[in-house]
């Protein structure tokens, strides 16, 4: 064997992946050839440098998120049956079916106007706590509307919620399931999964001009038209709220959880923690500190697995107030196996409340 042939085989030679006869031949050659010996030495060093790279550890939450998505997929597979029931119901009461679009348009219009006025007022009075004015029931869920004032540049008129018309038909359910993720994910999915929304937005909500992809910044604002408005407004009663929260969980547990920026220049940070406790609190502070220099609103997403993990969670109202005074806006999203709890500077939940409800 000449040097060129030997060099070609050196890689397999150090792996012991060549026939013995050839290996012996190479060893023989190496004895008499210092250049090939040097090449072998360098190759060995190269491989050992690569091997010396440390392995990274999977975070505890990796398996949680995978299982959340898989569980959700199983659940989704059972859905078509439910849809059939709905279809049957509507076939039995056809007039309901005709009534819906009218109601839908009316509702959207009313909601649009209300939100428009509401938002305009609230941008003047920054971060007014909403909690005390909430209905008596204490579901720890924030419907889309009250969060709107938190948006950093709220003065520019944005209408995320009513941007789409009614979707009273069974297919809407799926669409809704997809939409929340878009608030977190990047441009690519936005464009791909909402083909019709642009048209509808311009038709139904002329006030939404001036900002592309306006829905993404508003935290819970599901871009699902009437369907989601209903769910959102039903957020204070048990069943509907659960369903809605579940959607968030499944969607959010996927690609959406990462530190990223939205169109509103808002930073979203995922805080991964198997237990919501002091560690979480420290991480919150660390995150705030680390992005403080950027001077932009921060939204935090906190994922955990079981309600037991909420044990020891202690975000106090004072804490949130303090954080939000440092930043333009502060939001924490708690994700548990049962749903999502939203916490922001307008709705700070005590640990007891969370535990009681989830």
């Amino acid at each position: 064997m000449n040097c060129r042939e030997v060099r070609q085989e050196l890689s397999a030679y150090i792996d012991g992946a060549i026939p013995e006869a050839m290996s012996a031949e190479i060893s023989e050659h190496l004895k008499g050839c210092s250049e090939c010996r040097a090449a072998l030495e360098e190759l060995r060093l190269t491989v050992s440098e690569i091997k010396s790279l440390d392995a990274v550890e999977p975070p505890d939450l990796l398996v949680v998120r995978v299982m959340a998505r898989v569980t959700e997929e199983q659940r989704q597979r059972q859905k078509p049956e439910q849809r059939q029931h709905k279809g049957l119901f509507q076939r039995l009461f056809p007039q309901v079916r005709f009534a819906i679009p009218l109601t839908a348009v009316a509702t959207v219009l009313v909601a649009a106007v209300t939100l428009y006025l509401f938002r305009d007022i609230h941008t003047q009075v920054k971060l007014v706590p909403q909690l005390p004015t909430r209905p008596a029931e204490e579901r720890p869920v924030v419907p889309p509307q009250p969060l709107a004032p938190l948006q950093p540049k709220g003065k520019e008129v944005q209408m995320p919620e009513p941007a789409r018309p009614a979707e009273p038909l069974p297919g809407a359910e799926r669409q809704f399931a997809e939409s929340p993720a878009q608030q977190f994910t990047e441009e690519k999915r936005e464009a791909a999964t909402r083909p019709e929304s642009a048209d509808n937005a311009s038709a139904n909500a002329p006030i939404s001009v001036g900002r592309p992809q306006e829905g993404r910044g508003a935290l819970p604002a599901p871009a699902g038209g009437l369907h989601s408005l209903r769910k959102a407004s039903a957020g204070y009663d048990g069943g509907a709220a659960k369903e809605r929260l579940d959607f968030y969980y499944s969607d959010g547990s996927g690609k959406s959880y990462r530190s990223t920026e939205t169109a509103e220049n808002e930073r979203i940070v995922l805080i991964e923690t198997p237990a919501l406790n002091e560690t979480l609190f420290e991480r919150q502070k660390a995150v705030i500190d680390s992005v403080a220099a950027e001077a932009r609103p921060i939204r935090m997403v906190v994922a955990c697995r079981k309600k037991e993990y909420l044990e020891g969670f202690h975000t106090s109202k004072e804490t949130a107030a303090q954080l939000s005074s440092d930043r333009a806006g502060f939001r924490v999203r708690l994700i548990t196996g049962k749903g999502i709890v939203l916490i922001d500077s307008t709705n700070v939940l005590s640990r007891d409340k969370i535990l009681a409800n989830y």
């Binding site: 190269t46 550890e57 999977p58 398996v63």
Partner: protein, 202 residues
């Protein structure tokens, strides 16, 4: 890979349970393989965050297609093939995005310092050595990143994950001869990229 045999037996059991809808069995599979899958994704893509996402997606896709796993290869090989494909797709996506945004070459790797730095450096090494070690690793990472995807794949599977040539062949669907020649060329290219390290030392 140390306990490949035992792992394999457990895998077959759990895969069968999984097909019957046993989520706990799938969770066991995830727990057993997540580290390797994450590390493959991470080394292929060069970003810890992207690696995490791709790992999640790969497991979800494995769950969806568990009936498509025919048992002729090991489950570990099968899931590795899935993550390899997913990682390449992600690399492609990132590339086309970077073309639009004009991101800097070293951008994605920056986020990795945390997880990498955590368990390096033995307790007795001096600050200077630590720094040197950190720089060495950064250089190694950069060199691996510079490789073409096909070449990086064989290096990751062989030198980082310790797969045999045969296993690499079945993960990447390549003949063993191709694995051998690709690995040889990949290592050559790494060697010249890392040459200044060796020059400094000897």
């Amino acid at each position: 890979m140390k306990d490949a045999k035992a792992v394999n037996d457990d895998d077959i059991n759990d895969v069968q349970l999984c097909r019957k809808g046993d989520l706990a069995a799938f969770e066991r599979l995830v727990l057993r393989h997540q580290k390797r899958i994450l590390n493959i994704a991470f080394r292929m893509i060069g970003s810890y965050e992207d690696g995490l996402e791709v790992t999640q997606d790969s497991f979800v896709s494995a769950y969806r297609n568990i009936n498509g796993f025919d048992g002729r290869s090991k489950f570990s090989t099968w899931i590795c093939a899935i993550v390899m494909n997913a990682a390449r797709n992600r690399i492609e996506q990132n590339r086309s995005r970077n073309r639009h945004e004009g991101a800097s070459y070293d951008d994605p790797i920056e986020g990795n310092d945390g997880p990498i730095a955590r368990d390096c450096a033995s307790p007795e090494s001096s600050a200077l050595e630590k720094l040197e070690q950190k720089e060495r690793r950064a250089l190694v990472r950069r060199c691996i990143k510079q490789l073409e995807d096909d070449y990086r794949a064989v290096v990751v599977l062989r030198d980082i994950q310790g797969f045999s040539y045969g296993e690499i062949g079945s993960v990447l669907k390549l003949a063993e001869g191709t694995v051998k020649s690709r690995l040889s060329r990949a290592r050559d290219s790494l060697r010249s990229c890392l040459r200044k390290l060796f020059g400094g030392k000897r």
